[in-house]
Amino acid sequence: MSMKKNYVVETIRKAQMVQLLASGKRVDGRSLDQHRELKIETGVIPKANGSARVFLGNTQVIAGVKIATGTPFPDTPDKGILMVNAEILPLSSPYAEAGPPSEDAIELARVVDRGIRESKMVDLGKLNLVSGKSVIAIFVDCNVMNVDGNLFDATSYAVVAALRTAKMKKYVIKDEKAEATNELIQVPVEKTPVSLTFARIGDKVVVDPGAEEEASMDMRITITTEDGGNVCASQKGEASTITPAQVLQAADTSIRVGKAIRAKIIEATK
């Protein structure tokens, strides 16, 4: 979210925050690598094929999965389709606006999509119906309901939880045509990617920045890891820099903290 800043106030606020961080403290009392309380509710939109509402502190995101059949992309004729979209609703923040997706919303959707896609969370090969003609297409739409920092992680967790609990029709193939049965089966989920976002404020890097911290942050970096402890996606953001050492340390933190969050997501989506 690009907020309209009051430069004088922002400068004072940031100076205070940097001072606080120098003594290892954050505005809300968390430790540097501590994320806010994560709550995950699933099945919140019964009409969707899968859904989840995630609260990360006061940030709230709802993801809904819709599944249909479609035509595969020409270059992947035997793979299903997975699309992640996000809208930062105007009701979510005084700075969000109605209209076509902003640059921020497009980046948000693409970074979340990348984490899901690159982890191979969903086995797209299992979504093939008739090669080159018909595949299963999964759309995950995310509604950001309340903005309080770190949309990347909250949105990612919502998408992962929605996909983990999504059910789709089983299809049978007759004469090169896919026919839907009444049987419902799980979406073929293989992995549980976990996104972790850091903010650099001054020379300190903190996990899961809240809105106040984002208003003062210089740089943002998201690192997504998968079950094997591998890194599968990353995105640096904001118009500033990060040192190589900070990148590597963030990767370590992401692998470590990611494990706990993954367990929590798996628990919430059993």
């Binding site: 819709k66 009701l91 005084p94 903005v147 309080d148």
Partner: protein, 256 residues
């Protein structure tokens, strides 16, 4: 004779004993629960579940008007967007606003403005965002019901709440509060919004074929049911501002 050949009669939506597909009587509302003030950033908000509708309304303002040429010198500019989440309906909806959403945004705005004392906020904007997370029949009246609570929650001066209910015709019979199936298979839908204390109608749309008698019956039923929902609105505001359990109020609990 006039009005006789009305009705579609294809799907049996109401049986001989007057029971509808979901077990309701002809004049019975679906379950409704309302919570006010859930959203953290918004100046005011209300969440309504009405049948399978799940709708969040939030209000920002009064705030500065951008672009400036839209400023109204003697009153607030009320903006309104009714929007359906892509996952809110059976087939995924394109997130870009449809012509239907543009029209509904307009009639919702025109239903809310009469209740807002816009003269108290000259040269400002008040924004009302209605997001349909899951849609059943009657989402626009449910949205209005929530939106007027969100305005009240934001502390905006109001003459009255606005509350709506949609009535209509299934199998040539007037019924209250159509759900999705009744809306699609039935032969008429009539969303009505009222300012209940002032006894005024601020939204009226009619679809379908009604004899003069059916028109009046459906219209008056919608007003009566709107008053019933208004009791839920007041209870939800009460919970919000004067404590008591935050549990959701069910329509069954309300005395008519």
């Amino acid at each position: 004779m006039e009005g006789q050949e009305v009705g579609e009669g294809k799907t049996k939506l109401i049986d001989e004993s007057g029971k509808r597909l979901d077990g309701r009587k002809w004049d019975e509302l679906r379950p409704i629960s309302i919570q006010v003030g859930l959203m953290k950033n918004a100046d005011g908000s209300a969440y309504i579940e009405w049948g399978k509708n799940k709708i969040m309304a939030a209000v920002y303002g009064p705030k500065e008007v951008h672009p400036k040429h839209q400023v109204l010198p003697d009153r607030a500019l009320l903006r309104c967007r009714y929007h359906m989440a892509p996952f809110s309906v059976d087939e995924r909806k394109n997130p870009a606003p449809s012509r239907r959403e543009i029209e509904i945004s307009k009639v919702i705005r025109e239903a809310l403005v009469p209740a807002v004392i816009v003269e108290d906020y000259p040269r400002t904007a008040i924004e009302v965002w209605v997001e349909v997370l899951q849609s059943d029949g009657g989402s626009r009246v449910a949205g209005i019901t929530a939106a007027s609570l969100a305005l009240a929650d934001a502390g905006i001066n109001m003459r009255d709440l606005v509350v709506g209910c949609s009535c209509g015709i299934i199998n040539n019979q007037v019924v209250a509060d159509l759900d999705d199936t009744e809306d699609k298979e039935g032969s008429g839908d009539m969303p009505v919004a009222i300012m209940p204390n002032l006894g005024l109608v601020s939204l009226l749309q009619v679809d379908g074929i009604y004899s003069r008698e059916q028109f009046q019956k459906a219209f008056e039923l919608a007003i009566a049911k709107g008053k019933q929902v208004n009791a839920l609105q007041r209870a939800a505001l009460n919970t919000r501002f004067f404590g008591g359990e935050a549990k959701t109020t069910q329509v069954e609990e309300v005395a008519e």
